[in-house]
Symmetry: C2
Subunit: 396 residues, 2 copies
């Protein structure tokens, strides 16, 4: 069985997170990913902790299984090699500040002449158009600028960053949709195209009902802690030894919850009969439930609520996540064959496809230029002597 | 110019968020989306606020531009109509609890017999395998269960939900990648496949360095407020009238920042010379910067820092987001032609492709069954009398 993207070759000039996360997904779907790194240090994230045996676990997580060639794109020879490689690739991916590739003579308009079938995907902070296009962006900036931070956290508290880099990762995901769609369209038309995804745009695309609420209600939505703006109970509550989440927004689940908590009078309490009433009186719901939940531990309540069919969860830390039976049954943590990281698990592929066999391990992340000889020999027919000469010149 | 997914017809059985968000993206890339709704009330989110002129703005935001047919899938005639429609579609999308479609006799194994080219995408809470597969899930549950909530919020505070439904939306994004990849593979093989995406899996896939930090450092990562675990300054700071974000993680930006704030002695301060030192002494960095930033307003500092080339942002609420010049230059808020919502803006398409012209408006969201006649006539050749008979029988 062939993998869905088998035969798709990706030339990957990306660094740190949005770009590398995107090409990692393409790799998991079967593409060959050739990372192009500067010979002096390579991808910046090789210098990001945590480290083990001198290697970055951060870099490993996002780059396992890729190939690496080193190329100094400031040299004429380096640029020429990149152009030669583009002829043999389907996709080129970059996440430089817009204008960088054009200045190198390697923008989409340069490369499409060399290979009209090339799909050029750019993931940048602000995109390749508009007044801010040339500014750099970082995850926390787009979380703040795009509105997500204004509705995350606690009323009156300092702003709260989403603990994962959703600014970068959402751009990686939207970028991958654009890339795979461009591959599909190329099957129809025979030509490639440019895909331009901005981290800031992606934040705005994910605001869902907050944007509508503001326009209809004319009040700027505020952060709500763990609460949902229009569903209750649907938040964190406090047991005797910590917090648990209960999501029981409809009347049937509210009834099941009250029965399980042995507080059936609340079912017919005039303040709590509908979701709308419970949401209007959300503080009273919280007070009533916390008073009961305080009598047992999170683990005890999880047993009781699960048996009663009430959706609930502890707030799992990384230790519990790695042990989670459902995530492990779905192969969401896979081994990585890197001697520097014995026993290390990395996230697996969440896109399960019936034409894609599950793989229970990933190859290690490459060293800088580890695949120079293989790639230049196989794709460009170069000899070891030619490759050694390029290395001596500082091109690789 | 044809749109990338022009000619792709999607039969959309999804409700509320993850599924409808996925098919909305396919629509923006050119697919025809036919929403299949139960005749009694339709998509649950039609009942979710905010409302305007009796219609849900929540539903509008995610379903603009789709068609709707009403179909009672509990009737034999309704099931048969769905099977007939599947013959004329490329993609079927559903987000029921696993097992629901199979019980109706409409699971992938039933439908592939009718149309081997069909691509069947399921987005569920826990996926179509594993011990928890039959449980329902909600956004806040997978945020808590999958670990994101454990690293979002403030040390010692109650758990904090990410203010957008990233549990649903990330499943929509990974699902769309799977769908478009399956469309590409079908061009090679001629056959469809099943795509199975779980909200919980997607949360685990997005944990990036937290999972690696836990395994290397053996300590469970904790929430950090607005801070980044390994970059400083990279957080919210307090000006005289509110908060602003400064992202100046490398030494060059640190130097620019200190110059702009007129505190150049901090550049060579032994506690702050490298990013590693600044991260170790992050509280002192915060104390020093807050003391200076407290002397001017957010707007004043934005001018100063932007002029100095220091990446910064206010924490934009929905009002500022909707007015943002860069987002508007990128057409990220588009009009929707629904008389119930005059002047309403909905998020546009963040996937900019050179073979996809920008569209500055979207059609309205459909009423339940608004396209019954059109779809049944055009795809199945049915007469108005036949359609009226089905309606009289309660099938539509």
């Amino acid at each position: 069985m062939k993998k869905p993207l088998e035969g798709v070759r990706v030339l990957d000039l990306t660094r740190v997170l949005a770009g590398p996360f995107c090409t990692m997904m393409l790799l998991d779907l079967g593409a060959e990913v050739i990372k192009v790194e500067n010979p002096n240090g390579g991808d910046d994230s090789r210098a990001f902790g945590p480290f083990q045996n001198g290697k970055s676990a951060y870099f490993l997580t996002i780059n396992r299984g890729k190939k690496s060639i080193s190329l100094n794109l400031k040299t004429q020879e380096g640029k020429q090699l990149l152009r030669d490689l583009v002829k043999h690739c389907d996709v080129i991916c970059e996440n430089y500040t817009p204008g960088t590739m054009e200045k190198l003579g390697l923008g989409y308009d340069d490369l499409r002449v060399i290979n009209p079938r090339i799909i050029y995907a750019a993931m940048s902070g602000f995109g390749h158009s508009g007044p801010d296009m040339n500014k750099p962006a970082y995850d926390i900036l787009v979380q703040a600028m795009g509105g997500v931070m204004s509705i995350t956290g606690w009323p009156g508290s300092a702003p709260t960053r989403v603990g994962v880099s959703m600014g970068d990762i959402s751009a990686a995901l939207f970028g991958a949709i654009g890339l795979t769609t461009a591959l599909y369209q190329r099957e129809k038309t025979g030509v490639g195209q440019k895909v331009d995804v901005a981290m800031l745009d992606c934040q705005a695309a994910m605001l869902e009902n907050a944007l509508a609420r503001f326009q209809v209600e004319k009040a700027v939505p505020q952060p709500l802690g763990s609460r949902h703006p229009s569903i209750s109970p649907f938040q964190a509550y406090k047991a005797s030894d910590g917090y648990l989440i209960i999501a029981a927004g409809n009347d049937n689940l509210w009834s099941k919850l009250c029965t399980a908590l042995n507080c059936t009078p609340l079912i017919s309490d005039a303040r709590f009969q509908t979701n709308a009433q419970r949401t209007s009186n959300v503080i009273e719901v919280e007070t009533e439930l916390n008073a009961i939940l305080d009598q047992k531990t999170v683990a005890q309540w999880m047993d009781i609520l699960n048996n009663a069919g009430v959706p609930c969860s502890p707030v799992n830390g990384m230790d519990a996540v790695l042990q989670h039976p459902q995530l492990n049954a779905r192969n969401m943590f896979v081994d990585v064959t890197d001697p520097a990281f014995p026993g290390m698990k990395v996230p697996g592929n969440p896109i399960k496809m019936s034409c894609l066999a599950e793989e229970l391990s990933r190859d290690k992340a490459p060293d800088i230029g580890e695949h120079n000889s293989e790639v230049l020999r196989d794709l460009l027919g170069m000899s070891n002597a030619q490759i050694a000469a390029l290395k001596a010149l500082g091109v690789m």
